[in-house]
Every structure is written in structure tokens, then in C-alpha cells.
């Protein structure tokens, strides 16, 4: 067995890419993003071409935009999860937080359209607090993130239904639901869903934050090798807490979209945490931290949803979707592991 396999000790050396120089800023960055997402982008294109082959109507703007709208919550959630995974952790509490978002919004507003702004503010504050608590438990109490967020999952799920009296009550006002289900009228392409605008904005912010700010570089350094990051003066605790806050806020935004799209239910967020992790893994981020790309994560989420659509078109029974998702997940993580081994 060779002793050159990357292990915790020299991980940061293996995984940190040199920062692109300022000279080739625009073209260089675009190329960098494209390079990071090349493998999964190829897979996505193959799947999309197959879908178009089976169902040419997919190219119609309304059909394609409906696909984007359906994928929007997962993309946003995956981008939030990416920040935590890049920092070296996991966030399993996001599915429960989505449920909390929808149930609290319905119960507090009780369908009152005037409550829109206060309810949104309340939801964001809840997200902020959940992320802050997750981050502080992980960094200050040194509880591994899987356990912390697993505990938070149980706490949130129990607390929201204890508070609501066992099942979701109230209703969502139309102006709350518009973000998930309404659309702008636009010339040429017809209707542009709000959700698509939201997801584009979130993706731009996430890309900027992760790849073009000091915070992003410090986050990548923290995940690549915490000890080395500390030595270069990074406040890793603060960076990690911030990552959990971003993940929780992404869950709130995804919850608002899902509430509009799917309405109020007790199961609205179920299983979303693992879907988000799957999308991040498909996007080629290194589990354990240090490497990841926002653009590739968006592509990963799109690939997952497109794959489900393709399997549907092929007439595969609904339950087998999960089997295929499992196989894809195993394939992606083994591919990443073996590639890393070769690189080392």
C-alpha cells in the first residue's frame, strides 16, 4: 500500500487550489467554474438530451421553467449544505427546518395577507437562531456536526408539532404562496416563475460568497485543514458558525418556496436533508471539507431532479427511483474517492 494516499495530515496540501490571479479575473473565473463542474455537467447534458429525445415538449419554455421551479428548493438547500460540507461538517437538520418554516408560517399568519412581511422576518430569525445554535454547539461544545444536527432534527420536529398541537394548522396567504407557484408575465418566454428568479439570485450570492470573498477562501481553508487554517490566522469557529447559519437560512428560503409550491403538510421537509447532501456529492464537493464548487452543486441538484424526470419518462416504477438515486450516490462518491487517490 502506498503511503502517498492523502490523509488528514496533508489534506490541505492536496485539496487547495491556487487562487486565480487577478489578471484573468473574468474569463479565468468562468473557466474555473466550468472546469469544476465538468464531469457532472456532462452527465446532466446526457440526461437532458435523453429527456428531450423522449419528450420534445421539454424544450418549450413553460415546461422547462416548470422543471426549474420544481428543482429550485433543492438547489437552494444544496447550496446551503455545500457551505457546511466544505467547512468539514454535515447539516441533517434542514429537512425539519423546512417543516418548521411551513408550519409556523401557516399557523402564525393564518392566511392573513397583511402578515407577509412580519412572518417572513420571523422565519428568517428562526433560521438564524437554528443555524447559530447548531454552529455554537459544534464549535463551542465540540459535538460532531452529525450528532448536533441529528439532535436538532429531533428537537425541531418535536417542538413545532408540540407547539402546533400535533398537526399543521392555519393556512398560507396567496401573497406568501406566490413565491413558490406564481410567475411573471414576460415577452418571448411567456411566464417566468418567481422561484426561478429566487434561485438565480441565491446561486449568484452563493458563488460569490464561496469563491470570491475572504470568507469563502477561509471556509475552504478551514475544511481543508483546520489546524493549518488556525495557524494562518483564520477564526475557524466563527467561519463554521457562519456556514451553519447560511445552511439554516437556505432551508428557510427553500421552505418558503415549498410552502407555496406544495402547500401545508406535516411531511413537507421529510428526506430533504439527504437529497441536498446527494446533490452536493454529485457536484463533486469533498466530504470532509476543503473542496467544493457552488456552480457544480447547482448542476448536481439539477442532475438529480432531471434523473428522476428521465426515470419517470422511462416508465420506471416510482419506488425504484430511490434505488437509482442510491446507485448514483455510491457511484459519485466512489468516483470522487478514487480520483482523489490517483491525484495523491
Amino acid at each position: 500500500m502506498s503511503d502517498t494516499t492523502p490523509q488528514t495530515g496533508d489534506r490541505q496540501v492536496q485539496r487547495q487550489r491556487p487562487a486565480p490571479s487577478r489578471r484573468d479575473r473574468f474569463g479565468g473565473y468562468a473557466l474555473e467554474h466550468l472546469k469544476a463542474s465538468a464531469p457532472i455537467l456532462a452527465v446532466l447534458i446526457v440526461i437532458l438530451v435523453s429527456i428531450i429525445f423522449l419528450n420534445p415538449a421539454f424544450l418549450d419554455p413553460p415546461v422547462f421553467l416548470a422543471f426549474l421551479r420544481r428543482t429550485a428548493p433543492l438547489i437552494i438547500l444544496a447550496l446551503g449544505q455545500l457551505f457546511v460540507i466544505v467547512s468539514g461538517g454535515f447539516d441533517l437538520s434542514v429537512g425539519s427546518l423546512i417543516t418548521v418554516t411551513v408550519v409556523v408560517a401557516a399557523a402564525v399568519s393564518a392566511g392573513d395577507p397583511d402578515a407577509l412581511i412580519p412572518v417572513m422576518a420571523l422565519l428568517l430569525v428562526i433560521g438564524l437562531l437554528v443555524g447559530l445554535i447548531n454552529g455554537l454547539i459544534v464549535t463551542q461544545l465540540k459535538v460532531p456536526s452529525i450528532i448536533t444536527t441529528l439532535g436538532m432534527l429531533l428537537i425541531l420536529r418535536g417542538a413545532v408539532f408540540y407547539w402546533a398541537g400535533g398537526s399543521p394548522t392555519g393556512a398560507l396567504a396567496d401573497n406568501f404562496r406566490q413565491f413558490g407557484r406564481e410567475a411573471f408575465d414576460l415577452p418571448l418566454i411567456g411566464q417566468l416563475p418567481y422561484a426561478v428568479i429566487v434561485v438565480v439570485l441565491v446561486a449568484l450570492i452563493a458563488t460569490r460568497l464561496l469563491h470570491h470573498t475572504t470568507f469563502g477562501h477561509q471556509l475552504l481553508a478551514t475544511g481543508g485543514g483546520a489546524r493549518a487554517a488556525v495557524m494562518t490566522g483564520v477564526n475557524i469557529a466563527r467561519i463554521r458558525v457562519f456556514a451553519f447559519v447560511l445552511s439554516a437560512l437556505s432551508a428557510v428560503i427553500a421552505g418558503i418556496l415549498l410552502g407555496g409550491f406544495a402547500g401545508v403538510s406535516a411531511q413537507v421537509g421529510q428526506g430533504y436533508e439527504f437529497q441536498a447532501i446527494s446533490a452536493v456529492v454529485l457536484g463533486g464537493a469533498a466530504i470532509g471539507g476543503g473542496r467544493g464548487s457552488a456552480v457544480a452543486t447547482v448542476v448536481g441538484a439539477l442532475t438529480l431532479e432531471a434523473l428522476f424526470m428521465l426515470l419517470n419518462l422511462l416508465g420506471l416504477p416510482q419506488p425504484l427511483r430511490e434505488t437509482v438515486q442510491g446507485l448514483i450516490l455510491i457511484g459519485a462518491v466512489v468516483y470522487a474517492g478514487l480520483r482523489l487517490q490517483r491525484a495523491g
Binding site: Q7, V143, P144, G225, T323, Q325, G326, V333, Q341
Partner: protein
């Protein structure tokens, strides 16, 4: 990073006998268990510690306890297994179908269950070691594969266990000692023996402590991890067999409904085993499983709301792990 974890002070019996170290995590969790029993006696009344209720609590802890004995070894080696919940379902469905109410088929059903366990464990272990895949993601993947296959083939309860087989779930020796508790104790003794008295066990601790150092000292780390995964899947298979005896049939949902994946990990870490591997052991896990069962029973007796119970459970899991982490002298900056 700590070097080889050949620290015998982790052994609870030894430390209880020699120095009774209150700060030792493994004996600490037994003391907490004792304290909770006393608390239950005060809050609920003398019925709480009656023989009947104690047996009841132990029987309730059996399925989670068995699979947690497997999860402990995987975690000690620095890996993780999220596929156990669906594997339990697969085993209940398969073995109940093979039995189909005929006592003559019992040996074959058990053989099939154990073979499936070994097979799934091998796949998990090989993917983690030879495939260099992250254990959390890859076992999530194998779990999803099984989930999809299960729900595409089985909608409801399948097969049936003959009356003779249900003795395993309900039988009592001498009218009081449940067979199921003996089954848990047997699995526990095997796991304890493996971790404490075999070369595999020593290697497991060293690989979990530091894979690099273990490898440099000549330990075949891949084999050790594969072995731990096979044992873990076998314990999941035994849990499945037990649940068939208990339910009288196979059910595709019994595994995920019991949340055996996350609950077993919770029981292991509440029992003082480090999630990063190398420290802890099965006696702590046994205490962790019993602690969760006793708390559950106490909350039920006090008529705590089911949702509030979930909140308390989350708080307890985090608090338990925080108390270990804060007392740990190992100053790790990179916590997963």
C-alpha cells in the same frame, strides 16, 4: 492525534474494580443510568423499579441494542453505517417469506438472513475501503438501494413466522427471564469478546485511533474495516430475525419506522464512544441503549407528550456527547 488506543483504563469493569474513576466515560454512563433509575423511582414511584417494569424496559431495548452492538464496532473503526434500518426491513421480509409459517424452514430462514447480512456488510466494507468512499454517503446509498427495492416489491406485511419461532420474541426462561434479553446479552458478549480479547479488536481500536499509524505498524486496515462492517450488518440481520419473531411477519417499514440507523448511532455516542473512532466500547453502548429505553419508559409513565419526548431526546443526545467532548483531553480542531 492519539497513538494506538491501547489504554486499558477504558475498560469499565477494570476501572470500576481498580480505581472507580468517576470521570471515565464508559463507567460514567452506567452511573448516569443508575441515577436515572433512582430519579424514575422518585418521580414515578416504586413500580418503576419493579421486576416487571425492569424486564419490560429491557425487552424494549433488545432490537436497538443488538444493532447498536454492531454499529459500535463500525464507529470504533472510524466508519459509520446508515444502511442498517433498511437492511433490518429486508431481512424481516426475506426470512418471514422463507419461513412462511412452516417450522421446518426456520434454519433456512436464519441462514438466508445471516447470508444477506454478510453480503451487505461486505459491499459496505468494500465500498468504504477499496472504493475510498465516505462511509456516511456510501451507506446512505446502499440504504436507498434497499429502500427502493423494498418498496417496489413489498407493500404490506409479508410471510409469517411459525408459532415455534415466536418463542424467541415472547418466550421466558423459568417464567421470568425473557429469551430476547438473553439474545441481546449473547450478542453483547460476542462483541465484547471481539473488541477486548481478539487481534481483530485490538486492530480495530488502532485503525480507529489513527489509520496511518495502524497501517505503518503493519495492520491491514482495510480488512479490519470490512470485518467491522460485516459484523454490523450481521447484527442488523439478527435484529431483523428477532423482529420477525416479535411481529410474527416481515414488514418493509419496521426498520425505518424504528429509525434504527440514527438511533443506533445515537445510542453508541451516548454510550461514550467517540464518533471519530478509536475510543469507547460495547459496554458503554449497552448502557446507552438501556439509558434511552429507561428514559423513554419514564417519559411514558409521566405521560410526557410524544412531541415533547422527541425534543427531550434531541437535547439528551447533544448534551451527552457535549459532556464527553468537553471532558476529553484530546484537543482536536478538526471535528467532523
Amino acid at each position: 492525534m492519539s497513538i494506538l488506543t491501547e489504554d486499558r483504563s477504558d475498560d469499565p469493569v477494570r476501572s470500576l474494580l481498580t480505581k472507580f474513576d468517576l470521570t471515565d466515560m464508559q463507567s460514567g454512563v452506567w452511573l448516569v443510568l443508575l441515577a436515572v433509575m433512582v430519579l424514575g423511582w422518585i418521580l414515578v414511584g416504586p413500580d418503576f423499579v419493579s421486576g416487571g417494569n425492569m424486564t419490560n424496559m429491557m425487552v424494549r431495548a433488545v432490537p436497538l441494542g443488538i444493532v447498536a452492538m454492531g454499529q459500535t464496532l463500525v464507529i470504533l473503526g472510524g466508519s459509520l453505517d446508515l444502511s442498517v434500518a433498511y437492511l433490518i426491513s429486508v431481512v424481516t421480509v426475506l426470512s418471514a417469506s422463507v419461513m412462511d409459517g412452516d417450522p421446518n424452514n426456520i434454519p433456512l430462514a436464519i441462514a438466508v438472513a445471516l447470508a444477506v447480512g454478510v453480503g451487505v456488510g461486505l459491499v459496505n466494507g468494500l465500498l468504504v475501503t477499496k472504493g475510498r468512499a465516505n462511509p456516511l454517503i456510501v451507506t446512505l446509498g446502499t440504504g436507498l438501494v434497499m429502500k427502493g427495492l423494498l418498496s417496489s416489491r413489498f407493500a404490506a406485511q409479508t410471510g409469517s413466522a411459525p408459532r415455534e419461532f415466536q418463542i424467541l420474541g415472547y418466550g421466558r426462561i423459568g417464567g421470568w427471564l425473557p429469551l430476547s434479553v438473553l439474545l441481546l446479552l449473547a450478542v453483547f458478549m460476542i462483541a465484547w469478546w471481539m473488541t477486548r480479547s481478539t487481534r481483530f479488536g485490538y486492530h480495530l481500536y488502532s485503525v480507529g485511533g489513527s489509520k496511518e499509524i495502524a497501517r505503518l505498524s503493519g495492520v491491514r486496515d482495510d480488512r479490519v474495516i470490512i470485518g467491522a462492517h460485516v459484523w454490523c450488518s450481521v447484527t442488523a440481520a439478527i435484529t431483523g430475525i428477532f423482529l420477525v419473531a416479535r411481529l410474527g411477519a416481515g414488514s418493509p417499514w419496521v426498520g425505518p419506522e424504528g429509525v434504527y440507523d440514527l438511533e443506533s448511532i445515537a445510542a453508541v455516542v451516548v454510550g461514550g464512544t467517540a464518533l471519530l473512532g478509536g475510543r469507547g466500547g460495547v459496554p458503554g453502548t449497552l448502557a446507552g441503549v438501556l439509558l434511552l429505553a429507561v428514559l423513554d419508559n419514564m417519559f411514558n409513565a409521566l405521560q410526557v407528550d410524544g412531541f415533547l419526548k422527541s425534543v427531550l431526546r434531541g437535547v439528551i443526545i447533544i448534551a451527552a456527547v457535549a459532556s464527553y467532548a468537553l471532558r476529553s483531553k484530546r484537543k482536536d480542531v478538526d471535528i467532523a
